[in-house]
Every structure is written in C-alpha cells, then in structure tokens.
Symmetry: C2
Subunit: 208 residues, 2 copies
DNA sequence: CAAAAATTTTAGTTGAATAAAAAATTTTTT
DNA sequence: AAAAAATTTTTTATTCAACTAAAATTTTTG
C-alpha cells in the first residue's frame, strides 16, 4: 500500500498537466515555457522535466488523457446498427472533430501531431498511437455490427475496411487542424466525396 | 539583368542546402546545428537564418527541391492506360517510397512531416503542400486516362477518387516513415488491403 | 570612385535540457 | 515516538543551440 507518496506524486502530475493545458490554451504552445508551467503548478521546472522529459511530453500526456475519454464517448454515442457506412464514417469523423475543438485549439493540435511524428518511438507517442488504434477498432466493431444487422454485405472484410476508413478520416482530420480557416463542414464534404468516389469503384464490376 | 549578384546568391543557397543535406544524412537532424551547416557551406550562420529562417526551413527547402523531381519522374514512369486502379495506386505509392528512401533517411522524413504540420502557414510548408497537390493531380490524370481507355467506368468522379486515393496513400506513407522497422512490402500490403476492402463496398449495391 | 545592397561580425537574449549536491519528506527501524 | 534510511524534489549551476539586432565590412553596380 505504498500510497501516500504515490498519491502526492499523482496530484503533482495532475497539477502540472492542468497548468500546462491552461497555459497552452491561453498563450499557445511556443510561448509557454516549462518554467511557467512549473510555476503555475507549484513545482520546480526540474520536476516537470523529470516527469515528462520535454515540453512536448507534457502536451502528449495531456492529450492522451483526454483521448481516453473520447473513446468512451464514441463507444457510447455512435449508433450500433441500422446506419449507412458512409453516414457512420461521417458521424465518427464529426465526433472526433467536435472533441478535438472542445479540448484544444487547432494550433495546439498541430503541435501534437508534430510531436508524435517527430519523436515516434517515445513512450507517449506510442501511447497516442495505441489510442488511435482503439479508435479504429470502434469503427471496425460498428461495421461488424452493421453486417450482422444486414445493413452491409457480410462478405466484406470489416477489419480492413474499418482501418482504411480510419486512415482516411484521420488524414482529413489532420487537414482540418492544419488550417485555421478550414471548417468542419468543408472537411465533412471532402470526406464524403472521398467515400462516395471510392465506393463507386466497385459498383460496375470489372470492365475487362 | 541584375544577375551576377543573383547568381552568387543562388550558389550560396545551393551550397547551404547541399551541406545541410549531407549533414542531415550523416549525423541526423537534431545533431546538425545551423552553425555546422553554415561552416560547411562557407557562410555565416546568420546568412542561413536570413535565407531560411529556421533549421526546419532549410530542411523543407531541400525537400521541396527533390520533390519537384519526383513529380517529373512519376509523370514519366507511371503507365498511362491499361492498368487496374488498384495496381496503379500501389505503383504510385511504391515510387513515392522509393524516392523518399533514396533521398533521405526515415528519421529525417519524420522531421519534415513534423515541420510541415507544426508551422503550417509558413511559405515553405505551403510550398510542400502544393507539391502534394501536384502529386494527387498526377493520380487524377491517370485515372481519367484509364477511363478514356475503358479500364475504368467513365461515370466515376476522377477528381475525388484521385484525391481520396492520394490521401490514403499519404497516410500509409507517413506510417511507413514513422517506424524504422516498417518495410515497404508491409505498407504495400496494408494499402492493398485498404483498397480491396473499400472497393468491395460498392459491389453488392444497396441491401435495403 | 561613390552609392547601394548584401553579408558577416559582434554581442546578446532566451529557453530547453541536464548534472550534481542539498534539502525535504516519507518510510522503516529501533 | 525518535532516529536512521531511502527516496523524491529542489536548488544551483552549466551547457548548448536557436534566434535576433545592429554595426561594420565587403561586394556589386552605375
């Protein structure tokens, strides 16, 4: 029951992450210094480094937390059956964008993506990727359930389809956060166009 | 005809970009300092800053150059007609990966992606995105020509299909560079699975 | 050769990151 | 409960490199 010390550690970490979030939102990532985070959290800057290694480390820790919530929310709110594949995917995308915007500014999300890419391999990057995979799994399971419900042909490969749809959605999400002027509606339209065009390919069968 | 000065400027820039490339390949991005680039190029570090602003700036300049070549190469080598959509896309993806690996290490590509994402909005980021769009256009044109050749149903929306395929390919490309252990074959397989699953959706028509 | 333009030098700021010793706190032992 | 041991945090100090500003110098042009 080594817990008093552990609890305090947890509290300290919570304070750090909380202060970081507030500062990121207030003055942006670049202009937030590790020292300002440390000050706001009532710890020393060395402690921040000890826990999270780098400034990006703090950011990723913060995002990992909030993304775990997103998965639960998605799991709960995404309709289970009786929905078109295209609509399902769009709904999925919309919820992710909603969540992202509710959590942090686009600008900060760009830093998240950059950090995950730039130091792929770090603990926190890998945690982030794992969450992505869980998101993809949500989609896969909905596809399977649509197949059971008869809304979608059963011979389709649900796993690969779900992953492909996730990749596409994710690519568009990154586009969404990459431009301040890009609206959710515009991204939704693009994703819709993507899917419509792709789904149209199979329709005619081989022309040969 | 203000050209002597302009020529020297160009030469200086070439030297900077060349030295940077050599250093990035040799010791990696992080351990290359702007001063070492400047030294190798025979200019002062301030000059490097003046031209490219940041270290990432130099990197993006370098990549923009080499990617222009890629587009030409693709345009020349990608078969014009008489090819399946799936094979076309895979070939496209393969050439991009080949080019990427021939140019820089995965590690450096990660920095490229990070830089483009992190300061979206900078000149060089936007140039990079423009090149991406040109890449997508190559795909679109091949699709149109496949339609003219009768290999693909003419009623399909070539523009949106091409863009969707590019997005998917790009997502998989980023996955490719994100892990040192990820092979081209593995990525090709994933992309093939993506496409097969997506194209299968249309086949049955509506079940409703 | 003088004017104009660009580069380099000089000098300084900033903040991330790290190391090692000191201080504080918690746990364990007596 | 007090002392000792163990662990964590903070202090202190330093390094490193990106980036910037302004003056000095060089180069080009007319």
């Amino acid at each position: 029951m080594s817990t008093l010390r552990a609890r305090q550690k947890q509290e300290r970490q919570d304070r750090i992450v909380g202060s970081a979030k507030a500062l990121f939102k207030k003055v942006g990532f670049d202009r937030t210094t590790i020292e300002s985070i440390a000050d706001a959290a009532g710890v020393s800057s060395v402690t921040v480094h000890n826990y999270y290694g780098t400034k990006s480390g703090v950011l990723l820790a913060l995002v990992n937390e909030s993304d775990s919530l997103l998965i639960e929310k998605l799991e709960a709110s995404l309709p289970t059956a009786d929905i078109e594949l295209l609509e399902l995917t769009l709904m999925f995308a919309r919820q992710i964008m909603d969540h992202a915007i509710a959590t942090l500014e686009k600008n900060i999300w760009r830093q998240v993506v950059a950090a995950v890419t730039s130091d792929a391999g770090s603990q926190l990057s890998m945690a982030y990727r794992k969450l992505d995979q869980q998101l993809a799994d949500v989609l896969v399971r909905r596809i399977e359930s649509a197949q059971r419900a008869g809304t979608l042909q059963p011979q389709i490969d649900a796993l690969h389809l779900g992953r492909a749809l996730f990749q596409l959605q994710n690519a568009r999400f990154i586009q969404f956060i990459s431009f301040d002027g890009m609206t959710q509606d515009e991204i939704e339209l693009r994703l819709r166009n993507d899917l419509t065009a792709l789904f149209a390919v199979g329709i005619g069968g081989s022309t040969q």
